[in-house]
Amino acid sequence: MKTWLLKYCWLLSWLSFAANALPSITPIYDVRTHLTSMGYDKHSVSAITYDSVSALLGTGRKTRGSADRAAFGKSVEFLAAETGMNPNILSGHGELIVDNASPITIVPNGTSLTVWTEHGNTISDALGNAIETGQPITLEQFPEAAGARSYLPGSVVPDYTLSPPFNPDLNIMGNPTTVSTPTPLSQLLKRGMGNVNWAACLYVK
């Protein structure tokens, strides 16, 4: 237990350093790979990844997240107040629409993005529900979560499109952000949001 706590504290320190060093270091950071290399059980890596990034960048509970929000404006609060939806979970049908070029966007300051599978893959509706309800996510239960990762502020990410959760209908749980028309990720990410979870596919059209 003591060893585990030491590892966890060391991890948080490392993540804080990484965040403060941005953009002088590569902004794309696969937390899961790092945790696995530290010897964490692969079945609990995804959940730890989520908690670690939430702790670092804030979901409203942590000092760092509150500071980020104060520093970067109130757009997130406005969004939540206007819609009543949780801006930190984006749910629906997802894909990357590639025409002649692959669209990209940049994760804004004070915001990180967690995606729950490898780029190009799909996730089950059940995994989406686990993301929405904050249930523990294990690779044993959701093998499609292999390749899940978090992108820190300044990261270049594919500009996925979120479509409404119907036609075909999805079982949405909790109160995540959904859209009524197809909307690119770049229009959903704002400054100072803390950790945002993409509860949709990363399918490439």
């Binding site: 629906g92 997802g94 629409i97 089950s124 509706d125 399918y203």
Partner: protein, 129 residues
């Protein structure tokens, strides 16, 4: 996502299961057997489409329908018994003989109805058993 017919199912990162066999996972890059199936078989498939298995959070547009590449993928609308739904994000299951289970994308209905796809005979027999 292409899988050869009657190969062990391993979608969504799962380990291949020798008792669950793929049917109708077509794409535009692979030829597939063609033939005519009865209306009764098509109706049976359509009924199963209204009991979706493994729904996912993305829409797989038929590779045989041309759409605008700049627009989001579109599902395939169907109607049965006064109910409507859209195909392209889930699967169906058919129980066969000797403990076999066949796993097909629900777009198999469109592949059979509009594209002339003829699934293996053992699958067709399992459907009507």
């Amino acid at each position: 996502m292409y899988f050869k017919d009657l190969t062990p199912y391993q979608y969504l990162g799962r380990e291949p299961d020798p008792n669950v066999l793929t049917i109708g996972w077509l794409d535009a890059d692979h030829d597939f057997p063609k033939g005519i199936v009865s209306d009764a078989i098509l109706e049976r498939i359509l009924v199963l489409c209204f009991k979706p298995v493994n729904p996912t959070r993305g829409i797989h547009q038929s590779p045989f329908i041309r759409g605008n590449p700049k627009e989001p993928s579109r599902a395939y609308p169907v109607e049965y018994g006064g109910k409507r739904m859209a195909l392209g994000n889930a699967e169906i299951r058919v129980s066969g003989r000797n403990g076999k289970i066949y796993a097909a994308p629900n777009l198999i209905y469109h592949y059979m109805k509009d594209c002339g796809y003829l699934p293996p005979q053992e699958f067709l027999e399992a459907l009507m058993d």
